[in-house]
Amino acid sequence: MAKMIVNVEVNGERQELLTEPYRTLLDLLRDNLSLTGTKEGCGTGDCGACTVLLDGRPVNSCLVLAPEAEGRHVTTVEGLAEDNRLHPIQTAFIEEGGLQCGICTPGMLMSAVALLRSNAEPSEQAIRYAISGNLCRCTGYDKIVRAIEVASKTMQADAAIASH
């Protein structure tokens, strides 16, 4: 099958990628760009391990065909930290024990970031709903929920300081 070029911005960097049209955004990230932080757990959109932000919205990158990413902005787990400074959600996951094996963590972080962008002070139920598309088999979710609560507080405090 003829290959095509996909222009996409990934973590703030413009990329021109050659791919067969049947490949997925997940394939582009992992195999073309070696951004292996995004994981494949099922390939059918059921586990959420491949969650990335597409124009700011969380998507299962295993369900996005590569050509669909044309002209769009993608953020992956590799793009969360800025200038070697961890994003508050990353710090919270580490400090609250919100990860064990860590395979669901990149997708979980992206869903959490998307939630906190749209809802700075989510209820526990809202947090659980927002990550219900991300399966975790190690933690029982409790410490992940706590980590997102802590990150929410930190980010609000940071925002308050910034606005002064």
Partner: protein
């Protein structure tokens, strides 16, 4: 370092009464940054130049003879570098090992040998052929070009049906193995385990009260989010390099060495970061086939299972049919128990046996018993270890029956268990005495917990009913060989070198132990896990053994390093080593404490003088097992119209011996409980009559999401183990054991329906409620009618074929750890 105080119960002072600085602290995960930034490399994350992609062709039949395979079209497809089938295995292995091809050794009922189907397929999805090609798409296209002709055979999926005379034989050369020898005619009953004590018939007939029940659990999957992945490379110097997601890199090296018939020095294995294992990645899956493809193709080959392959064709946990009868006095004292546990171990022998009996009955004093365990072959994937292997099934049967007994006696379920709970010195069903244990303390922690003490709340959902249930669990504890090195850097920091795989946080606890014993800040300790050429030997991670066994090795290595540092300091002080004191990173001579050297100064100076730089070493082979007990209180809400069940609250009390890192302990407990909730409510393999798995995806194989998981409060009980550092016990396995039973007991409390099969959400609850309404009392049903079964006659036979086993450390180890207490001394 983050420290937070959460409620916990300390029932006894730890054996080690020293004041600890780092032990017991909630330090953050040492590898946390790598995992939240995407830097951690998992099984599928490594690539090599010129790498090919490997794929396998699954069998569309559950049981069929392979009459022909034609791979010529697949081989001819441009971009395909290797195609192999079961028939090719002997010649490839012979070429690699420079030995004669021995096809007969693959004609054995061993999943480890038959990495591709041999002459016939025995379960749906079994790999029949494998290809390596330049892209995944070409590899998949090549699979479609392989022409296989099958002659379908009758299928047996139900273990009870498989036990009957005349059932289709899954394997032609499996003979029932018993304590007294092997049967002489083939049977689907691979193993019969009989444990007994006293006169059980008399004990039960003398009982004031008896209950009986038949309990069923479904085949479930470990559900790790990372599918198995492996990368293999062959070099012209005859060496193989393997990167793989495994619980034991030395196990893979040993296993490949046995399979390929080459010495371990020709194999170098790097365990990747592992995305969940729960027992399943203790056995090899992709490694042998990936290695053969890489050899045949002459290029590195990467393989990654799809989710449907993971569910169809790895090693899930066995389903079970369990008949239980209990007899007791009016006061609740157990007098006798009879049980027959039937384990559906899948298409190859291994995986069932006594673990479930020891976990199920082990917590209780039963004066007279007879427990029979049947490992039964069916046309399902061979089964394997899943967190406390077979414990949850056994506990579901026994703890449900105890709940029935408590309600018949009008006794509190906690009081009934306390009355019969084992103590130190009591013996388990395999007749092994318990060392110091903290079982009663977990029961008391629940009995005294505010949730248990307070009246039951009403459901907030109209029409729903709320219920509360209790159940207990036991895991015998894992042991095995571990080794660690502690390298002291010239700044006085330490790097632990270990070859053990960290499943979920043991790197952090190891660093805590080293920091504690070296008396340096936690932040100055690092830990690495290099490959099998570089790292000291370790048995695989499993059975909750790492913090206990590797922890002992790290403890010893740290003390060794400290001793050596003291000796180096004495060279600098020019005095005998026994005159040097050390505390919190500083050395001094006892007679003159004013002159001090820091650990960094000593290490820096030693790097180029005296006896040189310091490496501490620590080894451990077998410690005494440290059994771990748990008691859980589960609150559920049940919709009596639909049978829907929601777990709303869990209090999980567990004897952890000594919590080195309470956050990590809680994480293990909460994770185990939620897996147990999945097992109880929604998870289960569904097969059709042809033996095809109908739910090989995570949409229909339904694991709990964040919305299904309740609030889980952990009560860390600390009754120190008598071996191992600080009194620590393994934590990971036992929290899953009580949960399914506790959920079922809570459902009974809510709606008076006794559910005896899992998963239970929905129809089983409605049926159970209807039973109660129509007056069916399951506790009085006669359940010991196994019907005619076919084991063949027992006794050693010259014609019996010994089951050849793949000599893998992993399989040996897991087989050992399938059993809670294997030492029958």
């Amino acid at each position: 370092m983050t420290t937070t105080e959460l409620p916990r119960t300390v029932t006894e002072a730890p054996a080690d009464t020293a004041t600890h600085v780092v032990i017991g602290q909630r330090v953050a995960k040492i590898e946390g940054v790598d995992k939240v930034t995407g830097k951690a490399l998992y099984g599928a994350d490594t690539s090599r130049p010129g790498m090919l992609w490997g794929k396998m062709l699954p069998s569309p039949h559950a049981h069929a003879m392979i009459t022909s395979i034609d791979v010529s079209a697949a081989r001819a497809l441009p971009g395909v570098f290797a195609v192999i089938t079961g028939a090719d295995l002997p010649t490839i292995v012979a070429r690699i090992s420079d030995t004669d091809a021995a096809p007969e050794e693959f004609d054995t009922p061993s999943r480890g040998k038959q990495i591709l189907a041999w002459k016939k397929v025995v379960f749906f999805g079994q790999p029949v052929a494998a290809v390596a090609a330049v892209t995944p798409a070409i590899a998949e296209e090549a699979l479609t070009l392989i022409k296989v002709e099958y002659r379908p055979l009758p299928v047996v999926i139900d273990p009870e049906a498989a036990m009957r005379p005349g059932a289709p034989l899954v394997q032609n050369a499996v003979y029932t193995e018993t304590f007294s020898g092997k049967a002489t005619t083939p049977s689907n009953i691979a193993k019969l385990t009989e444990l007994s004590r006293g006169n059980v018939d008399e004990a039960i007939s003398n009982s004031d009260v008896t209950v009986s029940g038949t309990f069923r659990t479904a085949m479930v999957h470990q559900g790790y989010i990372e599918p198995q992945a492996c990368l293999a490379e062959y070099s012209a110097d005859g060496r193989f390099t393997i990167w793989t997601s495994t619980q034991g890199q030395f196990g893979v090296r040993g296993g490949l060495s046995g399979f390929l018939k080459i010495p371990p020095r020709r194999i170098r294995v790097t365990a990747s970061e592992i995305g969940g294992g729960f027992g399943a990645k203790g056995a090899m899956t992709l490694e042998p086939i990936c290695t053969l493809l890489a050899y045949s193709a002459g290029r590195p080959v990467k393989m990654q299972l799809t989710r449907s392959e993971v569910l169809r064709a790895t090693r899930p946990a066995p389903d079970a049919v369990m008949h239980v009868t209990l007899g007791a006095r009016k006061d609740g004292t157990l007098l006798g128990a009879r049980a027959a546990f039937i384990w559906d171990v899948g298409a190859y022998p291994g995986g069932g046996s006594v673990g479930g009996i020891n976990c199920g009955f082990g917590p209780y004093i039963v004066p007279a018993y007879s427990y029979d365990g049947y490992d039964v072959l069916t046309n399902r994937p061979s089964t394997g270890a899943y967190r406390a292997p077979n414990g949850p099934q056994g506990a579901f049967a026994v703890e449900s029956a105890l709940d029935m007994l408590a309600s018949k006696l009008g006794m509190s379920p906690v009081a009934l268990r306390l009355k019969n709970a084992v103590r130190e010195g009591d013996r388990n069903p395999s007749d092994v005495p318990y060392p110091r244990i903290g079982f009663r303390e977990t029961l008391e922690a629940i009995e005294n917990h505010p949730v248990w003490a307070s009246p039951k709340a009403a459901s907030s959902r109209p029409g729903w009913l709320r219920g509360r249930g209790v159940a207990c669990g036991l895991w015998g504890g894992g042991v095995g060989t571990s080794m660690a090195h502690v390298n002291i850097g010239e700044d006085g920091s330490a790097v632990i070198v270990t070859g053990a795989v960290d499943l979920a946080g043991t790197r952090t606890t190891m660093a805590q132990i080293a920091a504690e014993e070296l008396q340096i800040p936690f932040e100055r300790v690092n830990i690495v896990q290099p490959d099998t050429d570089t790292a000291p030997f370790n048995n695989p991670t499993g059975g909750s053994r790492i913090t206990y066994s590797l922890g002992t090795a790290v403890y010893r290595a740290s003390i060794d390093a400290r001793t050596k540092l003291k000796q180096r300091a004495s060279q600098q002080f020019r005095c005998p080593a026994d005159e040097v004191d050390y505390r919190d990173g500083e050395f001094w001579v006892r007679s003159d404490p004013s002159v001090r050297l820091t650990i960094g100064q000593v290490a820096r100076s030693a790097a180029g003088s005296g006896d040189g730089p310091v490496v501490g070493t620590g080894e451990v082979t077998h410690l005494l097992r440290a059994p771990a007990f748990a008691t859980q209180l589960v609150e559920v809400e049940v919709d009596p119209e639909t049978g829907a069940v929601q777990v709303v609250n869990v209090v999980a009390a567990q004897d952890v011996g000594r919590a080195i890192n309470p956050t990590a302990c809680e994480g293990q407990i909460q994770g185990g409980v939620v897996q147990g909730i999945g097992w109880a409510l929604t998870e289960g393999y569904v097969y059709d009559e042809q033996g095809r798995l109908r739910n090989p995806g995570l949409l229909d194989y339904r694991m709990p999401t964040a919305l299904d998981a309740p609030n889980i409060e952990c009560v860390l009980v600390e009754v120190p183990a008598i071996d191992g550092p600080y009194g620590v016990r393994g934590v990971g396995e036992v929290p899953i054991v009580p949960t399914p039973a506790a959920v079922a007991n809570a459902v009974f409390d809510a709606c008076a329906g006794r559910v005896t099969s899992l998963p239970l959400s929905g129809e089983p609850v409605i049926l159970a409620i209807n039973d109660t309404k129509s007056g069916v009392d399951r506790s009085q049903m006669v359940t010991f009618n196994l019907g005619p079964i076919s084991t063949g006659s027992t006794g050693a036979s010259e014609t019996a074929v010994d089951e050849p086993k793949l000599a893998t450390e992993v399989e040996d180890y897991c087989a050992e750890d399938d059993v809670a207490e294997p030492e029958l001394e």
